[in-house]
Symmetry: C2
């Protein structure tokens, strides 16, 4: 029964539509970037070339980055988060930094080299108005039809959720910090 | 400001507590297993040895499995889902199969070799009473204190949620199936 390949209750008729997906992981829970990273590994394992633009410094500069070196140019990281002033709240500088990162995204969204592009933590930048969601959706509409794009980070704007094909909210039900447990290196970061 | 390493509003005082985390990814959304897989890669990249017990056949037999071969014995997969009768609903046989998988879990939960053990899709088996959540919690209580365990799958029992350190609900906000779009190989599976 081929229908068993699809979750129950889903329309099967239209399932031969093939397209590059616009995927969003948002919410206050863990796993938004980590699931995107797992998807990147799955894609690389399937022969895709993947590019990751990191809007926030430090992300991936841990075990994932180390693991990713195994895959050479099949999995490329573009760390663009250097110089953001999350603490000092220099809005103009953050907008300037985000604009640089966004220019790299536009390049990757439209090339023919990468079949999956991950815009890691870009949702925060849209939330804080460092990047304009209208501009992001405009470029997503112009991407090659089979290119997959994953946008991660909390606070994804409703306009992006409305536009995306696949949206998952990672919801924090329970966090060890709440019990005063330190974030565990190698597991949580 | 070291406190900035922790999300706002979290108690910092107790954060020097180091312990192996019991982590749960549940919910109806995507990314439960994928985030656990990303965590496995992060752990391997940090020098951990990781074991994954697969309660449901087919999981990981895709891009991830291919990517994982890069890491040799640092990342071991134990596919135990063969022979489950999800369609034919032979409860006795499924309980028997789940018991075999669970015995492998017990072995891995208590060894000194693996610092992270992923029990992939075990939550479904507890939900369907193939595996007894009380038995699972009993063994989790006896594991080496620094060993991390990740339990994935929808329908995580409340008793497990109450016991776990970190619980994330992957909530499906929007799924391409709902628009009649086929699951995209290399990205979704």
């Amino acid at each position: 029964m081929t229908t068993d390949k699809a979750p129950r209750g889903h329309k099967i008729s239209g399932e031969n539509i093939k397209k590059g997906l616009v995927m969003v992981n948002t919410g206050d829970g863990k796993g938004k970037s980590t699931a995107a990273f797992g998807t990147a590994l799955r894609a690389v394992g399937s022969g895709y070339k993947v590019a990751v633009v990191q809007f926030i410094k430090g992300q991936w500069k841990t075990g994932e980055g180390e693991a990713a070196t195994q895959f050479g140019d099949k999995l490329k990281f573009f760390p663009m988060g250097e110089g953001f002033t999350w603490e000092t709240q220099n809005f103009e500088q953050d907008v300037k930094k985000a604009a640089e990162a966004w220019r790299k995204c536009i390049e990757l969204l439209h090339d023919d080299e990468h079949q999956l592009v991950i815009l890691d933590e870009i949702n925060y930048c849209m939330k804080y108005n460092f990047v304009d969601v209208k501009e992001v959706i405009k470029e997503l509409k112009k991407k090659p039809p089979l290119k997959h794009v994953f946008l991660t980070g909390g606070g994804a704007p409703q306009a992006l959720i409305d536009f995306a094909d696949l949206v998952t909210e990672m919801k924090c039900i329970k966090h060890p910090y709440h019990q005063g447990i330190k974030a565990q290196q190698g597991i949580e970061f």
